[in-house]
């Protein structure tokens, strides 16, 4: 995917956009494989350093990267 609006630098945005787009596609197809009536509403990936939150839609993705409050 291509970043439309971003607060990070270009290269990071491109990386995040591409990778998370694929991951969201995969996650959505997984959810739908298990139950065809179901759909992915929100994806949260918590890592050691950040938490990445992805809100998917038909055409667009909203990605927020947050530092955990520890």
């Amino acid at each position: 995917g291509i970043p439309i609006r971003t607060t990070l630098d270009n290269s990071t945005s491109v990386q995040y956009a591409g990778l998370l787009h694929q991951l969201t596609m995969k996650a959505r197809s997984t959810v739908r494989d298990i139950d065809p009536q179901n759909d992915l509403t929100f994806l949260r990936i918590r890592s050691k350093k950040h938490e990445i939150m992805v809100a998917p839609d038909k055409d667009y993705l909203l990605i927020v990267i947050q530092n955990p409050c520890e």
Binding site: I2, I4, G18, M53, A55, D57, D59, Y60, Q66, P68
Partner: protein, 617 residues
């Protein structure tokens, strides 16, 4: 016998409408059972009859062809842009972005997603949902599971048939022993292995000299091939600089490599000043420059080197325990040990079974050797200090492993029983103070936990059929790599019970070591007293003592032979008795769980024990 029912109808009545009517059941044929035929059958009771309502399935095994995988990198370019827009052109991309932003669909989507996201972000800000809430409870777990280990990887140098057919170089057909293993100091994902054939003069012409550095992710192909001028007997990573390795060669030279520069050694020590026998031990020293190491070999010398200048050693030491510094009396060294916390002292294990502790900073060469510990009947193949208690060290040689304390020089403070096969290598666990590992020449890896059981290893694993030659534990204490005589390296992961520190373990281990050391000291003191008394007595009776050494060598030989066979026979008889002794006591226990049975068992045991004692005496 045919059962027939005949139905007749006149032809003129064909086609008439049928009028059906109900009538009760009527027996048409009744065939009574014939008892005379019963003799042809055998009664079967019970009868197994399976009833199942599933579909029949069959199982097949398929072995796929082996696939060689190779890691490659892929270069991404920015994609996803529509066809008419060139991603390199900044103007075009900006224009496209502005266009999308004005799209109504986009605006709606963003509002909707934004609300959703805001909710989650607020959640995150409010409370940390992944916090450890029940930390205290975890400490109460006891390790009940039996110790075990599982193989995680087997690195075998034998390449697949593919390579034999297609490659142009000589494949390594002759198997060489993996004589030394060294883990990469930081990542522990890489393993440097030295391969050489330690059999005397068994080197065939096509045996290659290479040693490999393996990456654990790829057990099929080595990451780097080290090409020395003669096979490497030992190989060590520099703990300070993980790109540098030093290796001791079979011909006595020392070489050092930099992995960034490739497989050929950066420098090789000159032949005239190097060792004259294979270098069995090479260890890095703790120094400010991080470039000092020392090596030991069976020619009786310990040499110190600075790898920046391998043309001559910085210092030498001849391992002569009579402290005269004579080469002729020197003992051949087989292992070296150095503890970074005690930089001036080091220990050498020799071929003759003696461990020599040396002080590097002594002024005269004769004072360099501080003390000797003898106790093994054969070469000391491994020597290592306990990482928690530097005064206690482990030696592995002949058929036993012994634990020594630096203070008691007469004998070891603890030892394992005599095994049936040679012990080839051993090392302490880096996480638990009372656990150590040994390898045997029948291919078994033993894990000993001395706090738990001292007679037998806690875990004994048969790794392979050929003898195991070397052993090395990874720094985290969970993974151990062992190399075998045919060059196969097996990596095993030890169960967590054996590699996590238990609650009171440190205090218990300290107590155990101190207790054993004290016991040995007491025994030593008593021996010394007895010897003094003997000497005093013998000085009084001078002439009688002289007669004993006059026994001729032949008589000594006969006496030794007689004693030897007596001991063997006694042992065999004891074993035979132990075997016949086991079934009767087992059956007794089965009958009753009563004290009578136990008492009976004891009584029958007592006369047997007395018999054994008589025979042993």
């Amino acid at each position: 016998m045919e059962i027939m029912y005949v139905y007749t109808r006149k032809r003129s009545e064909f086609g008439r409408p049928c009028s059906f009517s109900d009538r009760p059941a009527k027996v048409s044929v009744d065939i009574p059972p014939d008892p005379g035929m019963a003799s042809g059958f055998v009664l079967r009771n019970p009868v197994d009859s399976a009833v199942q309502h599933t579909s029949d399935m069959s199982e097949h095994e398929v072995n796929t062809e082996r696939v060689e995988v190779e890691s490659r990198g892929v270069n991404h370019v920015e994609g996803g842009w529509p066809k008419d827009i060139n991603p390199q052109e900044v103007e075009q991309t900006i224009r496209f972005r502005k266009k999308v932003e004005k799209d109504e669909n986009y605006v709606n989507t963003i509002m909707h997603l934004g609300a959703l996201m805001e909710h989650c972000v607020k959640q995150n800000n409010a409370i940390n949902i992944y916090e450890e809430y029940f930390e205290e409870e975890e400490m109460a777990e006891l390790e009940d599971e039996p110790p075990s280990a599982k193989t995680i990887n087997v690195i075998s140098k034998l390449t697949s048939f593919f390579d034999v057919l297609l490659s142009k170089r000589d494949p390594n057909v002759t198997k060489r022993t993996a004589t030394h293993l060294s883990w990469h100091p930081d990542t522990c994902k890489k393993l440097a292995v030295a391969y050489s054939s330690l059999e005397f003069q068994q080197n065939t012409k096509d045996m290659s000299f290479d040693s490999y550095i393996w990456d654990l992710e790829n057990p099929n192909k080595p990451e780097l091939v080290l090409k020395p001028s003669s096979p490497l007997v030992c190989l060590e990573y520099n703990p300070k600089d993980s790109h540098v390795l030093v290796g001791g060669c079979y011909n006595g030279q020392l070489a050092y490599w930099d992995t960034r520069k490739g497989g050929l050694p950066v420098e090789l020590s000159t032949v005239e000043v190097s060792h004259r026998d294979p270098v069995y031990g090479a260890v890095w020293l703790q120094s400010k420059t991080g470039t000092e190491c020392f090596s030991a070999s069976t020619d009786g010398q310990v040499l110190w080197w600075d790898i920046r200048k391998l043309s001559e050693p910085t210092e030498t030491l001849v391992l002569d325990i009579t402290r005269k510094g004579l080469r002729e009396n020197a003992l051949g060294a087989v292992t070296l040990e150095f503890e970074p916390t005690m930089p001036t002292k080091f220990m050498v294990g020799t071929e003759q079974g003696i461990v020599i502790a040396c002080n590097r900073k002594a002024k005269t060469p004769s004072e360099k050797i501080t003390s000797t510990y003898s106790g093994h009947h054969g070469p000391v193949y491994a020597l290592s200090r306990n990482p928690f208690y530097p005064k206690v060290f482990l030696t592995v040689g002949d058929w036993t492993a012994r634990i020594w304390s630096e203070e008691t020089k007469e004998s070891s403070i603890m030892w394992t029983k005599y095994h049936l096969s040679y012990l080839t290598d051993g090392c302490w666990s880096t996480v638990r103070p009372a656990v150590f590992f040994t390898t045997r020449s029948d291919g078994t890896l033993d894990v000993w936990d001395f706090l738990f059981k001292q007679k037998d290893p806690s875990l004994s694993l048969k790794v392979c059929d050929e003898p195991l030659a070397s052993l090395r534990l990874q720094d985290n204490g969970c993974v151990v790599g062992c190399g075998s005589k045919l060059g196969t390296i097996t990596l095993l992961e030890i169960s967590s019970g054996l590699c996590t520190l238990q609650r009171n373990e440190k205090t218990l281990a300290t107590a155990m070591f101190e207790r054993e050391t004290k016991r040995e000291k007491i025994l030593e003191a008593r021996h010394r007293e007895m010897r003094l008394k003997e000497r005093a007595r013998s000085e009084g009776q001078g002439t009688e003592e002289e007669e004993r050494p006059m026994e001729s060598p032949q008589e000594v030989l006969d006496r030794a032979r007689r004693d030897f066979f007596e001991v063997i026979e006694a042992e065999l008889q004891r074993r035979a008795q132990a075997e016949t002794h086991r079934p009767p006591s087992a059956s007794q226990l089965k009958n009753h769980a009563g004290e009578e049975a136990a008492a009976k068992g004891e009584e029958s045991q007592l006369p047997r024990d007395e018999e054994e004692e008589e025979e042993d005496a």
